[in-house]
């Protein structure tokens, strides 16, 4: 049953608490992109995807999701747990020895919800397109979702996959780009600019939508529109503007919080900005 916007906001608030607590606890991990993509992943898992309650690797007859920018694992783990794939208590094992919650997502330890390892950038779109091809062979009408970073688009393999999907009319996929404009070393525009990304994607044969990834109304209307355009002979992509560090004021809009954890004081500040709604892990 789909959730209303207040429900979604409450889930996001809890997920943001999970993220900052997880990275604070082990003093490592990537809070910036995780916070920025929180609302998208919450919307995806709680309202958009047609998914089964339990997890099986093949994901037959359900929508599946791939996280290509695997470094934002904190948000992925939190959302998977809050969506019921595993108990929230396991979030406390993030990045620790013998954990299923590896620094970057992996299938190796058997964590439900993960279908491929990611972290080395640029690979997820290819895997998602392959999964979409399998769905076509299986005559499923389900959808494959994939999230990539904007800096990640500097990887050449992304563009191989872009060409392939358009040429082969892979039209059961909705890719999303986390367009926060930041990467580790600085703003994307200073490191290696994407110039006119929308034009680029359109010229590669994709149907392009644009959304505000930190606004549920925008996410809802854009992704619903996108869904209505599935199975029309072209792949679909959503350029999703987000604020890196969204929801924690001192982290917002700065690449500096890409991969560093908050200290004790900063944690308390961050938690005071995101209320506990579903119970901390």
């Amino acid at each position: 049953m789909s959730k209303n916007i207040d429900d979604l906001k409450n889930i996001s608030s809890q997920v943001r608490r999970d993220i900052v607590r997880m990275v604070h606890q082990v003093q490592s991990g990537h809070p910036g992109g995780s916070l920025g993509c929180t609302d998208f992943l919450v919307y995806l898992f709680f309202n958009l995807m047609k998914r089964k309650d339990s997890f099986d690797m093949n994901g037959l007859n359900e929508d599946v999701f791939f996280l290509s920018n695997g470094h934002i694992s904190p948000v992925f783990y939190s959302v998977l747990s809050r969506a019921g794939y595993f108990d929230k208590s396991e979030l406390s094992t993030f990045r620790k020895l013998n954990s299923r919650l590896q620094g970057h997502p992996a299938t190796h330890e058997g964590l439900p919800g993960i279908r491929v390892a990611s972290g080395s950038l640029g690979q997820g779109l290819s895997v998602a397109v392959g999964s979409a091809l399998a769905k076509k062979l299986n005559k499923e009408d389900n959808v494959v979702y994939v999230l990539m970073g904007d800096g990640e688009l500097q990887e050449g393999q992304i563009w191989e996959a872009m060409m392939y999907a358009a040429h082969n009319k892979v039209d059961n996929i909705i890719a999303t780009i986390d367009f926060n404009g930041q990467q580790i070393d600085g703003p994307v525009d200073e490191i290696n600019s994407l110039i006119d990304l929308k034009d680029k994607l359109e010229s590669f044969g994709w149907k392009v939508y644009e959304s505000d990834g930190n606004d549920f109304d925008s996410l809802s209307s854009t992704l619903e529109k996108a869904r209505k355009n599935l199975f029309n002979g072209f792949p679909i992509i959503n350029i999703m503007k987000t604020v890196m560090g969204k929801g924690v004021d001192f982290m917002e809009n700065s690449h500096k919080w890409h991969g560093i954890p908050p200290n004790d004081e900063q944690l308390n500040d961050a938690l005071s900005q995101n209320k506990e709604t579903l119970g901390d892990y």
């Binding site: 994901g59 392959g130 399998a134 769905k135």
Partner: protein, 319 residues
């Protein structure tokens, strides 16, 4: 086992064995799919493509994407066989294989043609001699290098039932067919071709024929060779190797690969840990290849029967 003199009546490329094995797999297993990076003819994948166009994916010259697509296709129960040259199947896409396939334990069969020196005139850019090493280092990766057309066909078919990532390495030149069409092929199990007492010769890929030719010379000199085919480099059949060297007390290995990282290195580790004996690795001595005819290249790089014979005598001398 009575000594048999191995001969052949026909030569055929091992890549055709792959292509014909894939054709058979396509007929018998509807989950088998094939991907190719613009080398359908070279990889002999045309039959599969023509028989099952819906299960064949032409990805163009984009090998990294091909590996990712293959990983994705397994999610949904497909068994993807990727086809391109060995160089582009491994070195070019090592990280894609490492993360999306090996670490993720995806059931992808990486099928690689034109491996080694015997691809010939194209030269060192295409003659990969490091691929076995790269692939065997990946945890969980099965590595197979069959010796002739028949064995390559059997290996491809066997991979249809094998679960997990695998690397199948084969080549371009027409090569003697000296194994039976209906031989038993078991992944991970070596095959004894000749029983002998003086030295064990372990050979993989095209080099098994070279080893059998060397044995003929050695036999004429009164040397009794035990010739064993190690088609599966990983997992290594330790039992057949240890049993043989306990009897012969010395050994050599033969492969069309750098001496660093290949079959010989795997055997070296095994025997140094479990049963040290005099041993020598025959392979390319840490260099790149070059253009030339396949047999001329094997001779120049000391992978011909004469060089194998010399190495065998040298090792026997150290007993």
């Amino acid at each position: 086992m009575e000594r048999k003199e191995y001969t052949y009546t026909e030569k055929k490329d091992t890549r055709s064995g792959f292509g014909d094995g894939l054709t058979e797999l396509g007929k018998n297993n509807e989950n088998v799919v094939a991907l190719c990076a613009d080398l359908t003819g070279s990889l002999k994948m045309n039959d599969f493509k023509n028989n099952h166009p819906e299960r064949f994916f032409q990805v163009g010259i984009a090998e990294a994407n091909m590996m990712g697509l293959a990983a994705g296709l397994t999610i949904g129960g497909k068994i993807p066989f990727t086809g391109t040259f060995a160089n582009f199947s491994t070195g070019r896409v090592y990280d894609q294989i490492r993360q999306s396939i090996a670490y993720s334990h995806k059931n992808v069969k990486i099928c690689a043609s034109h491996a080694g020196l015997t691809l010939g005139e194209d030269g060192a850019t295409h003659q990969i001699l490091e691929d076995i090493g790269m692939m065997k280092m990946l945890p969980g990766m099965t590595v197979i290098n069959p010796c002739d057309y028949n064995q390559t066909k059997l290996a491809a078919i066997a991979l249809g039932d094998h679960v997990g990532p695998a690397y199948l390495r084969f080549g371009r030149p027409k090569w003697p067919i000296f194994t039976p069409e209906n031989a038993k092929f078991q992944i991970g199990k070596g095959i004894k071709f000749l029983d002998g007492n003086d030295i064990s010769i372990f050979a993989t890929g095209h080099m098994l024929w070279q080893a059998l030719e060397a044995e003929k010379i050695l036999f004429s000199l009164g040397v009794s060779c035990e010739v064993i085919n190690i088609h599966t480099i990983k997992p290594l059949d330790e039992k057949i190797i240890l049993e043989s060297i306990k009897k012969t007390k010395c050994a050599i290995s033969c492969e069309e690969h750098n001496i660093i990282g290949g079959l010989g290195e795997s055997i070296s580790r095994l025997i140094s840990e479990k049963h040290p004996i005099p041993f020598k690795v025959i392979g390319v001595n840490d260099s790149f290849g070059e253009s030339g005819k396949p047999l001329d290249l094997l001779e120049k790089y000391n992978l011909n029967p004469e060089s194998i014979k010399e190495a065998a005598l040298e090792v026997i001398d150290k007993k």
